[in-house]
């Protein structure tokens, strides 16, 4: 079965090339993936990400439930509207999914999880929510449009009712606000994204999404496909579930240690395994690579290091840098940055040298220090 978002016909009318994306018929590009990538870095672009899953959690003990469910600490969220990125782990410390959770009220949190993991996520969440009396409601009635790029916020502001515009303008990064559109449609606007640019992810009723998309189009926001979204997020140093981590990988092995909070006395699922891994110090590691030679780094290519072999996870041609970039998972052990790391990638039988770099590779339109050579 192929699933379609309500914007499916709109994408086709805009000339999109459609591909299967985890069972969803989604636009990969509308002509040129590279042009769409640059548009988001330099101006603004919009993505239909309605295939993603919105889950509302309600009940007096929701925060207590999330303390157990998530590897990051929900108690970092002290002000209503604030958001947190976290992994949800299984008992073995493997990543079931990565997600964003919003604190909306003491008895109301909202999570946005991946499309490809929808069913197992919902089953896992429901299984553990029961003990806390937390109600789990999948919001299939909501669509999501991400508007990203340096001009994105200004362009969205034009579609928001006058009374809400000032408050939206003050909205901080990684926080969300309920506003009303000029057409009276309720919008849940989050200053989040998956591109490394400023912008919003807008959750709104499915019934209003086509009109909202067309209003953005009329305001000058061009559509961008999931192809550009992938190169943008990799440049931004963001993981893709299923490619960079899955249930056989702990957050420590996916460069997500910064999302794990080993705060005192919080017994979250998977914690024991993570603590053991940390104590042993032998976890595999995820590193960033840049290739100065021509060619493209791709998923599955063999990576050779002084500590043993690994493989490319996400790899692509970076339109911003004009060269290939990648994440790779390699054995534990220090690797010097730069060419000194002596890391090589096997490309069609040829060992090609790559540089080890810190990521993000690109942030707010700019190559980060040490990336470009």
């Amino acid at each position: 079965m192929t699933l379609k978002t309500l914007l499916n016909e709109t994408h086709r009318a805009l000339g999109a090339k459609m591909v299967d994306f985890g069972g969803w018929d989604m636009p990969i590009h509308y002509g040129s993936q590279i042009d769409e990538h640059h548009l988001v870095r330099r101006a603004a672009g919009m993505f239909d990400v309605s295939h993603m899953t919105v889950v509302d959690l309600k009940g007096a003990r929701t925060r207590e439930f999330l303390r157990q469910l998530l590897a990051n600490s929900i108690d970092k969220l002290k002000v209503a509207g604030k958001a947190l990125y976290s992994c949800m782990l299984n008992a073995e410390g493997g990543v079931i999914d990565d997600l964003i959770v919003y604190f909306l009220a003491d008895d109301f949190f909202r999570m946005v999880v991946n499309a490809s993991t929808r069913e197992k996520d919902l089953a896992w969440i429901r299984q553990h929510a029961a003990a806390f009396g937390v109600e789990v409601v999948e919001r299939e009635d909501l669509a999501i449009v991400a508007v990203q790029g340096p001009q994105a916020r200004a362009l969205v502001a034009g579609l928001v009712a006058d009374a809400d515009r000032a408050a939206l303008d003050r909205l901080g990064r990684f926080a969300a606000l309920d506003v009303t559109s000029v057409d009276g449609v309720p919008l849940f606007v989050a200053r989040t994204g998956y591109t490394g640019e400023d912008g919003y992810e807008v959750l709104l009723p499915q019934t209003a999404v086509v009109a909202f998309w067309n209003a953005l189009l009329a305001a000058g926001v061009k559509p961008a496909g999931l192809g550009a979204r992938d190169t943008l997020r990799l440049e931004a140093g963001m993981n893709l579930y299923g490619q960079d981590m899955d249930e056989s990988v702990s957050p420590y092995e996916a460069a997500l240690a910064w999302t794990v909070a080993l705060d005192e006395g919080r017994d979250f699922i998977g914690r024991g395994v993570l603590e053991a891994q940390k104590a042993a110090g032998n976890a595999r590691q995820m590193i960033g690579l840049v290739m100065d030679e021509k060619g493209v780094l791709r998923h599955g290519q063999k990576v050779l290091t002084a500590n043993g072999e690994g493989e490319i996870l996400s790899g692509t041609f970076s339109p911003t840098l004009g060269k290939a970039i990648a994440f790779a998972r390699v054995p534990a052990g220090d690797i010097p940055l730069g060419a000194a790391g002596n890391v090589r990638v096997d490309i069609r039988g040829k060992e090609v040298p790559v540089r080890v770099v810190k990521f993000p590779f690109v942030r707010d339109g700019q190559a980060q220090p040490g990336i470009d050579a």
Binding site: K17, I28, H29, S32, Q33, I34, G227, T231, K294, G295, V296, R298, T316, F317, P319, R348
Partner: protein, 131 residues
């Protein structure tokens, strides 16, 4: 989609061949193929003097999303490659049947061109692919 030039022959795997009349064949990928691949970012060409076999991989084209082998439509020796593609692989997207050519083969078995698809057969193949 641009028109398929009438003087070209094709492989089912979307390579085109233009018989130049001096025992040489110019090879590229079809406009349909470049559309499937999307924005091309890298081309790995054979070396001048390399021997290529009909139906074997002779070059690699890579787009942002995928790498694809390019099969030589005929056997022979590579006598020329399109060096300009190294800096401008997007030329293939812009002009697959013209400036986006990949390499020229001096044929060792000229009768092989008779086994290639004509433009109408190739067009029909694409038509059937769409259903």
């Amino acid at each position: 989609m641009s028109e398929i030039p009438g003087d070209l022959k094709f492989l089912k795997s979307h390579e085109w061949a233009r018989v130049e009349g001096n025992g040489r064949v110019t090879v590229g990928i079809s406009d349909h193929a470049q559309g499937l691949l999307g924005d091309l970012v890298y081309v790995e060409l054979p070396g001048v003097g390399d021997t290529v076999q009909a139906g074997n991989a002779a070059a690699v084209v890579e787009s942002v999303k995928a790498a694809s082998d390019v099969y030589s439509p005929v056997s022979g020796t590579v006598v020329e490659v399109n060096e300009a593609l190294a800096d401008k692989p997007e030329t293939i997207n812009e002009d697959a049947y013209g400036e986006g050519w990949l390499f020229v083969v001096e044929m060792s078995e000229p009768e092989q061109v008779n086994e290639l698809l004509g433009p109408d057969d190739y067009a029909e193949l694409l038509e059937n692919d769409d259903h």
